[in-house]
Every structure is written in C-alpha cells, then in structure tokens.
C-alpha cells in the first residue's frame, strides 16, 4: 500500500504498525518523537496496535525544547 511519510510517498507492506514504521524509517530517539497520522496525534501506547491504511499521511515530530 502507499502511504506518505514525512512528505514522501512510500510503498509499504499491508498491516504495518506505527511501531514497525518507526523502525523501518530509522527514526532517531523515538522516545522523543510524536507521531501524527492524518493530522491527528497518536498516543504512544497505540504505536504497536495502530495499523496504517492506504493513503495515510504520517509525520514524525521531534520534541523541540531546551533551556538556557
């Protein structure tokens, strides 16, 4: 199936979970990454269970923060 990841259309296996996509995409420090699917934030508790569908648009948002 085709999905869009970080602005790029990709062909991935059917039944792919968010957790599997994170591994597939070599996401750095996933503990600091928020995931959105079709502009909705996904709770990290659902990364294993949420299965992507054809046409889904996924963004990986790194936590952006710091201090003086």
């Amino acid at each position: 199936m085709k999905i869009t990841v970080a602005g790029e259309q990709k062909e991935v296996a059917d039944g792919l979970s968010i957790a599997e996509l994170i591994v597939l995409e070599n996401v750095e420090t996933p503990e600091y990454v928020t995931v959105s699917v079709n502009e909705e934030f996904v709770n990290s508790d659902s990364f294993e269970s949420l299965i992507l569908k054809e046409g889904d648009v996924v963004e990986f948002l790194y936590f952006m923060g710091g201090g003086r």
Binding site: G7, E28, T29, Y32, E59, L61, M64, G66, G67, R68
Partner: protein, 148 residues
C-alpha cells in the same frame, strides 16, 4: 554547512524574541538544501513556548504540526528550529544538547544578553561521549543577494 537566512526573517525572529522577553522564544525554520551543500532558510515560524519561562522552551506540538503542514503545502523542507537566550550566550546549553535529537536539523540560537543580538547555528548529534556540537557558518543576506 553554510546556512543562509534573509535579513527580513532574522528581523522577524529578533522582534519576536524581544516581544517575548524575559521568556525564551522559539520557532521552526524551513527551506531547502542546495546541491552545493548550502542550507537556505526560506521561511521562519514564530511559535509558542509552552513553558513560558526564561529558563526553558518547548515548542507547542500542535503549532509544530501546523507549521509542518504549511511546509509540505509550500514545498519546503523542515530544517530545524530556533530559540532565544534572553540572558545567556548564543551557544547550546547542556539542556539544549540533551534535547537535540534530530541530527539532520540545524539549531539556531539568538542571544539577547548584549545590546546587539547574536545569532549562531549549530549541528548537534549523538556520539559516544554524549552529544557532539559543531558550529555552522551562518550568513544573513539582504533581499537582493543571489542564492548560492
């Protein structure tokens, strides 16, 4: 890597940081990387520091998502972020380094501690010793300057 930012975008960041003082201000940068290895910032986003303090910043994730959507719509690539140091130099703090988790990103820091603002750009990535910081060359260019 050479990074370029328009004078007008620098001015927007500076004015926003002044308006948010004493708190830290923050946002995102977007644009493209040229074949010659130049990182061209074409748009800056002025976002909310949800910590609302002079010691920390955290970018509002909903605003971050909206900015990313705007970048996709306008054919821009997310290039990193910027934040201000109202009372400290333009260099990554220990917390800045700890929370810099995207090695592809450029991290811009605007210091307001002196009368004249100082903006520097950094590349930060994980290493065996923790985090490695490398200062990047930053050029503020006028509207008439040609792109590299």
């Amino acid at each position: 890597m050479l990074i370029t930012i328009k004078q007008a975008d620098f001015d927007r960041i500076y004015e926003h940081a002044l308006a948010e003082r004493p708190n830290e201000a923050c946002g995102l940068i977007a644009g493209h990387d040229t074949e010659n290895g130049v990182r061209v910032i074409e748009k800056v986003y002025l976002l909310t520091n949800i910590d609302h303090t002079n010691e920390h910043f955290s970018i509002d994730p909903r605003e971050q998502l909206a900015a990313i959507k705007d970048m996709r719509t306008n054919g821009l690539k997310p290039l990193g972020n910027w934040h201000s140091h109202p009372e400290s130099p333009s260099r990554p703090s220990e917390e800045d380094k700890r929370l810099a988790n995207d090695s592809r990103a450029s991290y811009l820091i605007l210091s307001l501690m002196e009368e004249k603002p100082v903006l520097n750009a950094f590349h930060i990535e994980s290493s065996e010793d923790g985090k490695t910081v490398r200062k990047e060359e930053l050029e503020i260019r006028g509207e008439d300057s040609a792109e590299e």
